[in-house]
Amino acid sequence: MKNVILFLIPSVFYVIFIVKLFELQILKGDKFSKKAIENYIYTINLKPARGNLYDRNGKILAGNATGTRIFIVSKDEGIIKEYKNFISSLNGYYSDVVEYEDFFSISSRRELLENVIFVPITYRIYPYGELTPHIVGYVNRDELGIEGFERVFEDSLKGREGRILIPVDAKMNIVDKSKIIYEFPQKGKDYKLTIDIDLQMFIDSLVKDFEKAAIIVMKVNGEVLAIYSKPKYNPQIFSRGLTKAEWEYINNSELAPLINRTISGLYPPGSIGKILTTLISLENGWNWRNSMPCYGYVIYGGHVFKDWTVHYHISDIKEALEVSCNVYYYNLGRFLGLARLTNYLKKLDIFNRKFTFFPQEKISFVPDSSWYMKNYKFIPGGAALNIAIGQGELLLTPIAISMLTGAIANNGKMPYPKFYFGQVIKDTFKLPFSDSVIKITREAMLQVVKGPRATAGYINWKLYNYGFNINVAGKTGSSENPQSKKTHSLFTLFAPYENPEFIITVVVETAGHGSEVAVPIASEILRWCLLRYYYQ
């Protein structure tokens, strides 16, 4: 018995050892191999350069600058301190990103080179700074796209990470410099945007007297030439860290500079909304030749609905749009009724879908009877009348206005906006109205610029003075602004009338009537576009 125990003890352990050895080396061998490699391979991740963003003429909107970063490969406090002191002595402060000259200073100290790896790095720069942030967006300190294009195309812009694999011992000393493996990073994909930065710059100069504005210039094929939102901000500040003043500016809820007003700004369209009313009324059997007197007001449901002036006689719907007669459109609102008007509006893409791939975009809004019941507990008597003249609760984004104008210019169809070359546009915005209706509306919009009583006659006169023989169609808008007596100034146009090429929408907040501010700005933009793209 005793002798059996004697043999048993080493035998049992022998079996246990073999089993354990089998478990560690054969069952868990791969896991431990990985651990062993992690142990002696020190990895430095190399950030790839982000893809460049160019404007349509090849100018860099978002590019990369280069620098050198130092990695100290050591666990020895003394060595690390010596490096930091040396680098600090060059600049007066310590930073692991070193200047070009410092690179040579460090290289000259051979003993320091033993534990150091130099890694080229790139960081994001925006040469046009404040001109493009709302479309290009920005990256944060980790070069992660946060807004705009940088955010939407993060995956393809960021490129593929590279690595440096350094064999080290337990004390983190580099074992053999010749065995360091370099896997170089791959630069992200470049994009060429449809934006024209020169036009963007020109627009910036036009609105310099105004605090808030949203301007879109599109081509009829959907290419966006300019997408300008003010207040602006410098996208560079986010990658280097905000100062207190900058932080306060960015977070100012009154200015809200981060908001791209062209796609997220919801404005009452003012008289521009009359385009929609025109289309729906004609579609519903309103005879465009119907004339009407205008005494400057109508009374409906015991309320007085005022016009902005007395128009005396309106001979047809085209003239009503030309002079922007509220009385005529109040009557169209009465003719249609709230249910019919809002039902038609709701069928449009404008109130259902986003036109761009930017997550920031907001969808235009149209109220209906159930919305009124929910929010007001009753349906205001004149709701249809107010919506008919583009006031009340109806809200449109500048991009939606552009799409509407484009669709009318283009005989009822407008491709969705195109922001970069190579973008495949499948969607087309279609107006669900008959050709004759669109034709009459088109003609009415021409009259807004060219007619004898034209509200936007300025642009016609201005272009004539500039020497252009060109027909423009459009519509002004002055939308009520709860913050000020001054209205928002809106204007949307397409030109040339016969063979449309450009669609321009200008919204200037708290600036006055559409004809006063937006029309002159639009005419300058149109002139620029014609010179640059039309009369080449």
Partner: protein, 376 residues
């Protein structure tokens, strides 16, 4: 002999990859040990034991006390001109001599006194691994000499009491188990009372020792053993790195001198306590299997020699020597494989170290001498 030499050669080959100077030194130790062992093999006589025992015991005790005054943090070695002497190794021979001369059953108090003296001197160095070796070997010899069963039961329950004292529930369960065992074995009444009192005494005193007496690094080692993943960066580092070294060797190993764990110092003290891990990293499962099997065969052969001996004194003498080899095998490889906490006990014939190499060979040659002596 040849297995031992083969193990030593494997050890030297592996140490060569870590430090050539150390490997050369170890080779010299092996040659010296074999020469010394051969002289012993040739000229040893049983009568020497009686002459040598007391001088050797006194020298060992003296050296063990002297080791306490060495400047080392762990007072394990005495520095001699050419190498560090580890006096605790000599106590192997002292124990063997003692068990040859005295039957523990007849000279219980005398034998116990010497064992406890050496045990305490080594424990306080502190060298827990070696102290437990002394306790293990002595206990086994006691058991073989048919010392009172109650006494052995008493010793076992003292140990159980120490271990279980940290968890009240386990302590209570152990207590009931003890009472049950006393009832079953029909122990004498005074043994029962002494066992129960000792059990309670150790149960109370152990937490106090743990909190007041044990050094932080000893506590850390035990805690790290219980939870290696959490203490990865600290004390279990050694255990964990040894497991990585062994595991990453896979079936065929990384190849001679290609183990990264050992080469780049992630595997600590690879030339001594963790040489088995280093071998497993370089030569994989096959290498590890080969080494374990070699040692196992060596031990089996020693045990077979032990079985052939008829003289009671020589049996105890031989068994003492074999048990030290068995202990080395079990403890060192268990630690390498992460089955036991780090104790710092060298692997027979493979680990670097002058004292233990020489003493291992002396023990081996003594066993060979016994074979020769008992057959003649």
């Amino acid at each position: 002999m040849f297995i031992a030499l083969l193990l030593s050669i494997i050890g030297i080959i592996e140490i060569w990859t870590i430090d050539k100077a150390i490997a050369q030194k170890q080779a010299l130790f092996v040659i010296f040990a074999i020469l010394l062992g051969y002289i012993i093999y040739k000229y040893f006589k049983p009568s020497f034991i009686r002459i040598l025992f007391y001088p050797l015991l006194i020298i060992t005790v003296f050296l063990l006390i002297l080791a306490h005054f060495s400047s080392d943090e762990v007072n394990r070695w005495i520095y001699l001109k050419f190498f560090y002497l580890q006096p605790s190794e000599i106590s192997k021979i002292v124990l063997a001599f003692m068990f040859y001369l005295y039957n523990p059953k007849e000279n219980f108090l005398k034998v116990s006194f010497i064992v406890i003296l050496i045990f305490l001197l080594i424990l306080t160095q502190p060298d827990l691994g070696f102290a437990i070796a002394i306790a293990f070997v002595s206990f086994m010899i006691f058991y073989y000499s048919e010392v009172n069963r109650n006494l052995l039961l008493f010793i076992i329950f003292s140990i159980v009491s120490i271990i279980s004292s940290f968890k009240t529930i386990i302590f209570m369960l152990s207590f009931f188990a003890l009472i049950l065992l006393i009832y079953i074995t029909k122990s004498k009444w005074y043994w029962s009372i002494i066992s129960i009192l000792t059990f309670i005494f150790f149960g109370v005193i152990t937490p106090i020792i743990w909190n007041k007496v044990l050094k932080p690094y000893q506590k850390a080692r035990i805690v790290a053993f219980l939870n290696p993943e959490v203490y990865k960066e600290k004390e279990a580092y050694q255990l964990y790195q040894a497991q990585i070294a062994i595991g990453s060797g896979k079936i065929f190993g990384k190849g001679y001198n290609k183990g990264t764990q050992k080469k780049y110092n992630f595997l600590p003290i690879a030339h001594t306590d963790f040489i088995f891990s280093a071998i497993c990293e370089d030569f994989g499962f096959l290498g590890g299997f080969f080494v374990i099997t070699l040692i196992f065969i060596l031990i089996l052969r020693m045990l077979i020699i032990f079985l052939t001996i008829e003289d009671e004194q020589l049996r105890r003498f031989t068994l003492t020597l074999i048990l030290f080899f068995i202990y080395s095998f079990i403890v060192n490889i268990s630690v390498n494989l992460g089955i036991m906490p780090t104790k710092g006990y060298p692997l027979l014939f493979l680990s670097y170290g002058g004292s233990h190499t020489i003493l291992d060979y002396i023990c081996l040659f003594l066993i060979m001498w016994i074979k020769k002596y008992s057959t003649s």
